[in-house]
Amino acid sequence: MKAVTAMAGALLALVAAASAQPEIRFTEVAEASGIRFINMYGGVRSKDFILETTGTGAAFFDYDGDADLDLFLVNGSRLGYDASQSLSNALFRNEGGGRFREVTGRAGLESYGWGQGAFIVDHENDGDLDLLVTRYGKNLFYRNRGDGTFEEVGAEVGLDDPQWGTGAAFGDLDRDGVSDLVVVNYVDFRVEDTPGPGDEPFCFFRGLPVMCGPNGLAPAPALLYRGLPDGRFLRVGGLAIGAERYFGLGVVFGDLDDDGDLDVYVANDQTPNNLYRNDTGSDGFDFSDVGLSAGVAYNEDGRAQAGMGVDLGDYDNDGLLDIVVTNFSQDYNTIYRAVGGGWFLDESFAAGVAEPSYPYLGWGTGFRDLDRDGWLDLVVLNGHVYPEVEGGITESDYAQRGLVFRNRTDGGFDEVPPTALEVPRVYRGAAFADYDDDGDTDLLATVMNGSPALFRNDTDTAAGWAGFRLVGRRSPRDGVGTRLALTGGGLTQVREARAAGSYLASSDSRVLFGLGSGAGPFGVRVRWLSGCEAEVEAVPGRYLLVVEPPDCRIPGGKGF
């Protein structure tokens, strides 16, 4: 009897524990939401060149200023195809009620070619969000006219670089109130100069002849642009960014040393990652690549991995931004935990994200609080680069499922059933947004040679939330780079407004906090890139518009 009672007690405890944590649940709703889009990207059953493998991204942004998030999807092409045979990029307007309608032509965004990523900025600080599309070939920059249409002005503003642009990020690196830009390039690639599958020793995978590279091919430099008040961008050379060449894919900006300015982290494929510490002062840009010394260039073995996607987030709520980088299969995704002083440790295994990632080749990723408990969870999208592996000849299939990790709140994560993300697809980009404004983070996943998946977050939780829409004055108007620290419910959560990150994607730049079961009040300290600091109180259940005060306090020291 005693044993039975003990068992029943244990069972009850288990049930109670389970009920304390809601199941993180997604529902795939792309088609039902009106997002009908076919991605074309290289060969379907085989890939002859590395160009055919990177895939495309997406961007959530409010292009028409109606306060809801619209969706831009990038398209690619096929070798030997011209525009008439290719499929265009596409813009979907958020109609409300979870519905989207395609408006590509009307918006002037029809475009063909080898598109890669989509990145958002309010470049002229006019309240209209502009759009950069990186490409193999000239990058495109679309100025938002403010009437629901765009004009392509890449050459006019100096952003029509013809290399193979992949990841990019906008942000005010020199804190002059105008957003600057970093574009990373992947490979110095020309079809005619590149060996075909099996032509060279680096063109095999498990004995299968496959496309060559990136090892064996020439890496390409990252590009740094200063944003000018007149709307142009000025390419800046002679600095650490771009001084060495890497196989760049992912880039993200964040204040990784908590000194009040944005640093630049780049995830490189098969080459060490970079952390460009921003020491820019009044004398102009000043960056140093401190990736090695900070412990974020290599994994714990001192070995370069194959970086693809990247995101920043304070997953352990210690006030310091940590880093996640997705990597190749039979390797692990890496979590670099900030330990203070600008140093990081590879704690991927201790955090519980390494072991589950081995069979998967990771791309888009993001730290997001999916269950609103005040702790950042983690999503990773996967998909192989070689269609040739399909059919069970390796431990990795071409189409792969996504991974969802719940934050245990003790410095580690548990992998949880990814619900709708369980369907294997050849995933690439991941853009995160609360597109239905219900206070949780949804996810748009791009799929190579397939239709995108829109994963609506349907996690059933009673936990509260509070959101912030930021408008800068002395800082860039889009608020990117602003740091918020919300205190309440026994926690202090630090977040930064950020759009670019993940893989080839731009996400919702509003800042969303999960409030857990805390009753409040929830005080929020806001630090703008200008240095201006302000305090506001969160309003549970809604997005609060926060405008940078014109005459706010600017503390003398750095740090938050």
């Binding site: 004995g207 098969q270 001192g302 704690e347 390494a354 072991e355």
Partner: protein
């Protein structure tokens, strides 16, 4: 000179695996040495001259003088150009670090052989792997395994070859078979552990390494790999014991010291980690993982100038070393089988 050119070796494929050296190449060398002896013993029709050449070559191999053995076997091949002579020459060439020529000799032996030969399959597979022809090595070994399905040496070499090709699933399947066939063989669980670790299957990896250690307590690489897997599984105390056991067997072993240092670092004791990493570097000044982690530990201690100096050493080591970067087995990087 009437040495038969139509005889094939049919030795005991299990025999060589009693040797405990974990490295496949060394294991194969021992295997082939035993095969050689057996073959020589079987050479009843050999002339005295041929016998002399065989035994001379064998003695040189036993003495570790592969170069001299090659000379003897070349003369043997000139005198009696049959499968067996080419086989011995191939073995000696492989041991002498001439894998391309070894492949040529072993292919010739294969062509001249009347019947499938397990030792020849193992040695040719090994030589092919050495010259980077891993796909062909797999074919040769799979063919051998077809004829000798219970020949654990072939399966182990095949599993190892799959593993080096980053084909963890195939490696795992083959090595599990090898382990079932030869449960007392320490090589099978060791390589199985590597394959499991390469697949990120840490529990099975730890189990396999644990078995390898039980079967061969002197296998320090298995002990280090066990420590590594346990550390990654979040079992630091057991990991520490595994590393210490490796150090008891091989004092100053850099990989074990680095493992201990990593545990200290992860548990927030950078000052103690420094000691471990420095000890590892005393034994191997270019040890990349030791350099990398020593720099991290020094940084955490605020010893920034020392950290910078170590980082420079790391950068030099990184620039000079191979770093394929992609799809690497973490354990393999520590054990680095030859």
């Amino acid at each position: 000179m009437t040495l038969s050119s139509r005889r094939s070796f049919r030795g005991d494929p299990e025999g060589p695996l009693r040797d405990s050296d974990p490295r496949p190449a060394v294991r194969v060398m021992h295997s082939l040495g035993a095969a050689f002896a057996l073959w020589a013993a079987l050479g009843t029709a050999a002339t005295q001259d041929a016998e002399t050449l065989l035994r001379t070559g064998q003695r040189w191999l036993d003495a570790g003088n592969a170069r001299a053995a090659v000379q003897s076997f070349r003369r043997l091949v000139d005198a009696v150009p049959d499968s067996r002579s080419h086989y011995y020459l191939g073995v000696a060439l492989l041991q002498d670090g001439q894998p391309e020529e070894a492949v040529t000799a072993l292919r010739r032996a294969d062509t001249l052989a009347e019947a499938p030969n397990p030792a020849l399959a193992v040695s040719l597979g090994t030589a092919l792997l050495r010259i980077g022809a891993a796909a062909e090595a797999v074919m040769v070994l799979e063919e051998g395994a077809k004829h000798f399905p219970r020949a654990a040496p072939i399966l182990i070499q095949l599993g190892y070859t799959h593993y080096t090709r980053l084909d963890g699933v195939s490696a795992r399947a083959v090595l599990r078979r090898a382990r079932a066939i030869a449960p007392s063989n320490p090589q099978a669980p060791f390589y199985l552990g590597l394959a499991e670790a390469a697949l990120g299957a840490l529990e099975p990896a730890a189990e396999a390494f644990g078995q390898a250690v039980i079967l061969d307590p002197r296998n320090v690489e298995a002990r280090v790999a066990l420590g590594r897997a346990l550390s990654q599984l979040g079992r630091p105390q057991e990991a520490r014991e595994a590393y210490r056991a490796a150090l008891a067997e091989a004092p100053g072993l850099p990989a074990a010291l680095v493992g201990l240092g990593r545990l200290e670092l992860e548990e927030g004791r950078p000052e103690r980690a420094v000691g471990s990493f420095e000890a590892a570097l005393a034994a191997d000044p270019g040890h990349r993982q030791a350099l990398y982690n020593l720099a991290a530990a020094l940084s955490l201690l605020g010893r920034t100038e020392e950290a910078a100096a170590v980082r420079r050493r790391f950068a030099e080591a990184a620039a000079s070393g191979d770093d394929p970067g992609r799809s690497l087995s973490r354990t393999r990087s520590k054990v680095r089988p030859r």
